[in-house]
């Protein structure tokens, strides 16, 4: 399984960003990759006291967060998967 792009919504960021992820990435690594081009550039960390979590984007923003150690390859994510990066 090769790497692919996810469409990342960082909480309170104005942009949806295209982020490359690898199958071996954990969700913490996915969150880190998504935050890297946003936080400190055009966005702030939504709450620096809390870890960034990852979930699938849904119309009501109510999907459960993925476990932090779950790997991308163990999800059904594929190219252009829409994800939220947020704090609980």
């Amino acid at each position: 399984m090769a790497g692919f792009a996810v469409l990342s919504r960082l909480q309170f960021d104005a942009h949806v960003r295209v982020i490359d992820v690898l199958p071996e990435f954990t969700m913490d690594q996915v969150a880190e990759a998504c935050a890297a081009p946003a936080i400190g550039y055009q966005a702030s960390h939504p709450d620096p006291t809390k870890p960034l979590r990852v979930r699938l984007t849904t119309p009501n923003d109510d999907a459960p967060a993925f476990p932090r150690n779950l790997k991308v390859k163990d999800t059904k994510m594929r190219h252009y998967e829409c994800i939220d990066v947020f704090v609980e």
Partner: protein, 499 residues
């Protein structure tokens, strides 16, 4: 020799329909070009043009318009105006010339198709003049922009944007090919004359003309007023056509064409007009806000015109009204942050005074877009200019070709909408863009956004440098920098300065 009055000969002269004997009517007027709705020839012959003009009259008026515009241009050139005006205003011109010229050029063709394929002889007559109008607009805009290219290569995009793979050019070209080149002439007329020209050109031409005059740029002000006088005239071609559609039970089709056309053009106009009006024009020169212009020319006037011809407001009107408050602020943020990818120098222009104006015109601006600019301002003040440039890629809509973004800060509205067609995922920035795709996916399925092209191997290797080159940056001209060299970020609010 005495000339007859126009009214004595006009109706006879433009009744040019005849009964074909050598080919069938369906060959003379193929339905896929002339009328897929099956409206009778008798009905089309009732098309009564809302204005009447002879060729002699047309040429005389156009000649006057041209000589007026060119004489103002010559006078302003002598004054060295463009060498002394600020860079933010030059960006208004760079953006507008390069965005308008391909649109004007594209519009020559559907008018030409109407001359050939319309079943209504009066419409064929008016479309001939309209095609000449669009040629004049293309030529005069190119002529005016060309002189500036020697001063600044970014003006060269006035001609380069036509075939460029820059994401902004692709966005406009996709819309123009959809509305103007890929449909029968009846549907095209609703999209071009009603949605595009009646609906939105007033904001661009009259609003921006007032701001340009305030800047002292009477060349550009005069130029776009001159163009708009043609647009306002030939936009009326759509009115009797829509009335015929509605009268013959085709309101649903006319409404759908309007809804598609208006949304697609709104997306473009919000950028080429909204950004200059609310950001690039210096605060003390702004006539009104973009929102105030849209409310005057679109929300009030266009809505009334739609009802007059028997159509309704587009189904997404509430979404549109919300966007009038928001969309161009979103895109100002994105275009400024990814300014290396465009051919003009966007002005951030969010110092304390500008923020106060934005908050007054758009209540809540500071809590949303202001938060975005707070991060950037902090970087600029700390000398971290490099960090004011965005890195990575934003998601781009597969319909409008513009970034998927929305208000941030205390809101979290940016959201992709997706459709799946023949195993491929398509990304959309909003409900109307997705709706346009979903009602005819085959029509749009082959379009690849700039992001798609990174992943399908078209931009190879997919490096930032190669991406910029693919988009013509560093080829035709350098990409954008902040027009004010971030000076706005270093200004203090008046009370703090006093302390």
């Amino acid at each position: 020799m005495a000339l007859l009055d126009r009214s004595d000969w006009y109706d006879i002269a433009r009744s040019t329909n005849w009964t074909p004997r050598f080919v069938a009517e369906s060959e003379l007027f193929p339905p896929e070009q002339s009328d897929p709705y099956g409206i009778s020839m008798e009905e089309w012959e009732t098309y009564d043009e809302p204005y009447k003009v002879s060729y002699r009259e047309y040429v005389a008026v156009q000649r006057e318009k041209d000589s007026g515009a060119y004489s103002v241009k010559a006078a302003l050139l002598r004054s060295k105006f463009y060498e002394t005006i600020d860079d933010a205003y030059l960006s208004v011109l760079k953006f507008n010339y390069a965005a308008s010229i391909p649109g004007e050029y594209a519009a020559c063709f559907p008018e030409g198709r109407m001359v050939r394929f319309s079943k209504a002889p009066s419409m064929r007559n008016l479309a001939a003049f309209a095609s000449l109008d669009e040629m004049r607009h293309t030529q005069i805009l190119l002529n005016f922009a060309h002189q500036l290219a020697t001063m600044d290569r970014q003006f060269d995009w006035a001609s380069q944007s036509l075939n460029s793979m820059n994401w902004v050019s692709m966005s406009g070209r996709h819309a123009m090919e959809d509305l103007l080149h890929s449909r029968d002439i009846v549907t095209t007329s609703v999209m071009l004359h009603l949605a595009f020209e009646t609906g939105l050109t007033n904001v661009q031409m009259l609003g921006l003309s007032a701001d340009s005059a305030n800047m002292g740029d009477f060349t550009f002000s005069n130029l776009i007023t001159s163009i708009q006088s043609d647009e306002a005239r030939h936009a009326q071609i759509g009115t009797p056509l829509v009335e015929i559609l509605v009268r013959n039970g085709r309101k649903e089709e006319a409404q759908r064409a309007l809804d598609i056309g208006f949304w697609r053009v709104w997306r473009l106009f919000a950028l080429i007009t909204g950004l200059p009006m609310d950001y690039y024009i210096p605060l003390h020169k702004r006539e009104r806000s973009f929102k105030e212009y849209v409310n005057e020319f679109v929300v009030k006037q266009f809505e009334r015109q739609l009802l007059d011809v028997g159509l309704d407001r587009p189904w997404y009107w509430d979404i549109f009204l919300k966007e009038v408050d928001n969309y161009h602020h979103t895109q100002q943020a994105g275009i400024w942050s990814w300014r290396r990818t465009v051919w003009w120098n966007p002005d951030g222009a969010v110092g304390p005074a500008e923020r106060a104006w934005l908050e007054q015109k758009y209540p809540g601006w500071n809590d949303t877009y202001g938060k975005y600019w707070d991060v950037i301002t902090e970087n600029a003040k700390a000398g971290r200019e490099e960090q004011t440039y965005a890195i990575g890629m934003p998601c781009v809509c597969n319909m409008c070709g513009i970034t998927v973004a929305a208000a941030g800060g205390t809101k979290w509205d940016a959201r992709v909408r997706q459709s799946e067609y023949k195993g491929r995922r398509y990304n959309f920035c909003c409900e109307p863009c997705q709706w346009i795709f979903d009602i005819d996916p085959e029509h749009y399925a082959d379009f690849d956004s700039i992001v798609d092209r990174l992943y399908n191997g078209e931009i190879d290797p997919p490096t930032p440098e190669n991406l910029l080159k693919f988009m013509g940056i560093g080829v035709h001209s350098e990409g954008g920098v902040d027009a004010s060299h971030l000076s706005w970020a270093h200004r203090e609010p008046p009370q703090m300065a006093a302390e």
